[in-house]
């Protein structure tokens, strides 16, 4: 009874201490606020759309490349669509891709890292050589090839392969395929040290199966590095998504993403520079916010790792 009470207050205090350390990192707190606003704004994109009375699919060739006005707070694009509404909808896509792909890659990375660290030996060697191999690949050209692959040739039915949402799923999968290496290395390191701790050895001595030890004893204790690495990887994934979409290989128009909104902007650079400024600024702010947030989480969750 008392032991349980102690452990509960202990955990509570630990959380408070983590929170206090995080709040000290002012840039990280500001980033968390900015990201919360961005996420809320893109969640409520349809509401803004109705408020402005500007349907996102509304092509209005009599009102192209307009400057800011009450009806269009940020102006209109080359097809007369409202820039603000498109930015918010684009944010949905970019944030969704970044977060979902980061979680997927964290799952792959955690699985590979924990197995490599726990079993060690040949398996560890093999998995880590594989990880090194993936890290050494020229990722961007490969992503371009993967984004261009014809899915019907992989045996997907044409109705699925040519549907408009497929570009979204495809980009999540291919960015996750390359994003897991950092998490795998961190989790392997954490597993190696946790494996030697007494509570893990006790669990093994009592006959717990490797699967149980990894799931119940190691994974929960390795969660801090996973959270930090995942947060830090979101920014990189959003950058890859935007590059691919910018090159015309990612999210396909008319679905807006911050990257593909910039594709058309290059041609309008001299007549409508605002088309280039806003989507790029959104990517930049989002990525830098995720990077600061990851930094702050690292300081708060793992104060021993002195970040310079």
């Amino acid at each position: 009874m008392s032991a349980a009470a102690i452990s509960v207050t202990g955990r509570h205090e630990l959380r408070l201490r983590v929170l206090r350390r995080f709040l000290r990192h002012r840039l990280a707190v500001a980033s968390a606020v900015i990201l919360a606003v961005l996420i809320l704004a893109s969640v409520f994109a349809p509401a803004v759309e109705r408020l402005l009375g500007a349907d996102i699919r509304d092509v209005d060739l009599s009102a192209i490349l307009q400057g800011p006005s009450p009806a269009h707070p940020l102006g209109t694009d080359e097809l007369g669509r409202d820039l603000l509404v498109r930015l918010l909808y684009g944010g949905r896509i970019s944030l969704l891709v970044g977060l979902v792909a980061a979680v997927f890659s964290a799952i792959i990375g955690a699985a590979i890292g924990i197995v490599a660290g726990y079993f060690g030996g040949r398996l560890d060697d093999l998995l880590m050589r594989f990880t090194d191999g993936v890290i050494a690949l020229p990722i961007l050209p490969l992503l371009i090839v993967l984004a261009a692959v014809d899915l019907t040739k992989l045996g997907l039915p044409a109705s699925v392969a040519n549907s408009s949402d497929i570009s979204l799923y495809r980009i999540i999968v291919i960015t996750a395929l390359f994003g897991w290496t950092g998490v795998a290395r961190l989790v392997r390191g954490a597993t190696l040290s946790l494996k030697e701790r007494e509570f893990v050895r006790a669990a093994i001595a009592m006959g717990a199966s490797p699967w149980r030890v990894m799931r119940i004893h190691i994974l929960p204790n390795a969660i801090s590095p996973i959270v930090v690495a995942t947060t830090l990887s979101v920014g990189g994934i959003i950058l890859f998504e935007s590059v691919l979409s910018f090159l015309g290989l990612g999210i396909q128009p008319p679905i807006p993403s911050w990257g593909n909104m910039l594709t058309g902007a290059q041609e309008q650079l001299s007549s409508a520079p605002q088309l280039m400024i806003w989507p790029g600024l959104m990517i930049f702010v989002t990525v830098i916010a995720f990077n600061f947030l990851g930094d702050g989480l690292q300081d708060a969750l793992d104060p021993r790792a002195l970040s310079d």
Partner: protein, 317 residues
């Protein structure tokens, strides 16, 4: 050392072999194959003709066999013919590679020349105002979408100020050293800004790590000036990891040049790879991609060797 090198080379060869098969298979999965393109350009081709052509070019063979045929030809020096350039692949790649090396080389030297003093300066007074500013800049540089930065540079220096051309290799019908230099300014600036941001962070972190060590205190106690401590003791030791990371980055830079080259329409390797993928120029895309992998792996090995050569305490086994 030599045993290490041999093992690393074998490992890298294995990676190249696996990659070449994977990329070969992936290219085969791209929309349209050479025969589809022929059919599209010649409506008189019947399905029978198409089948015969496929057999003639060996396109009906299983993927493993096709790959083997390509590999034996490639090892014999025949890398095939570029469809879009109507020339052998190697002849197309040569000039593109030269232009990329020029672009990357200039920006690489500039980046190192700016980032090393900047990083050391930040490390000399950690948590000072200028350290804070340098840190912020490096964070920003790593978070900025590279193509956006390129677009901003084009807008400011080409559209608005009109100082430099917005993209391309040279003025048509003009050329020459000065002309080409003007076209290089913006792509080089764009690559350099991003590199400096990345490098500075490492230089600062590594210099600070060395500054915490005992021999720095000893040097100060001996009366070595702060400047002497910084350049003679700290930087010299920090250079080992710095050179390693910069060497490693050379490989990633090759990928990074793809974006810069595409936005500035600079006909280098990156743009060549991108264009060949989009234009179904399979032979060129394949060789370009494999070459990019090769450069990245070579940079990795180079980084390891540099580490061992610079730091006598490290023995590569």
């Amino acid at each position: 050392m030599s045993a290490f090198l041999i093992r690393r080379l074998i490992q890298s060869l294995a990676v190249i072999a696996i990659m070449s098969f994977l990329v070969y298979a992936l290219i085969g999965l791209m929309p349209g194959d050479p025969i589809d393109i022929m059919i599209a350009s010649d409506p008189k081709l019947t399905p029978d003709d198409a089948a015969r052509l496929r057999a003639l070019y060996g396109l009906d063979l299983p993927i493993g066999e096709r790959y083997w045929n390509w590999l034996t030809a490639a090892l014999g020096g025949d890398l095939g013919f570029s469809r879009t350039h109507s020339r052998p692949v190697l002849q197309v790649m040569g000039p593109h590679l030269e232009r990329t090396l020029l672009l990357m080389g200039i920006s690489f030297v500039l980046s190192a020349a700016i980032a090393i003093p900047l990083g050391v300066w930040a490390a000399a007074r950690p948590y000072s105002l200028h350290d804070y500013a340098i840190n912020l800049f490096s964070f920003a540089g790593r978070s900025a979408p590279p193509f956006w930065l390129a677009l901003i540079l084009i807008f400011v220096f080409a559209v608005w100020l009109g100082w430099f051309p917005a993209g391309g290799l040279e003025t048509i019908g003009k050329g020459g050293f000065w002309d080409r230099l003007q076209y290089l300014v913006l792509p080089v600036l764009s690559l350099t800004l991003l590199n400096v941001a990345g490098f500075t962070r490492f230089v600062r972190a590594e210099t600070m790590a060395v500054m915490r060590q005992d021999f720095i205190r000893t040097a100060r106690a001996k009366g070595v000036s702060e400047r002497g401590v910084l350049t003679g003791h700290a930087l010299r030791n920090a250079m080992i990891p710095i050179v390693t990371i910069i060497a490693l980055d050379f490989g990633t830079l090759f990928s990074g040049a793809l974006i810069t080259e595409t936005v500035f329409a600079y006909p280098g390797m990156g743009k060549m790879i991108y264009d060949s993928i989009l234009a179904n120029d399979f032979n060129l895309a394949l060789v370009g991609l494999l070459f990019a992998t090769f450069v990245t792996l070579a940079a990795n090995i180079g980084a390891d060797v540099a580490y061992a050569v610079l730091d006598p305490r490290i023995a590569l086994t």
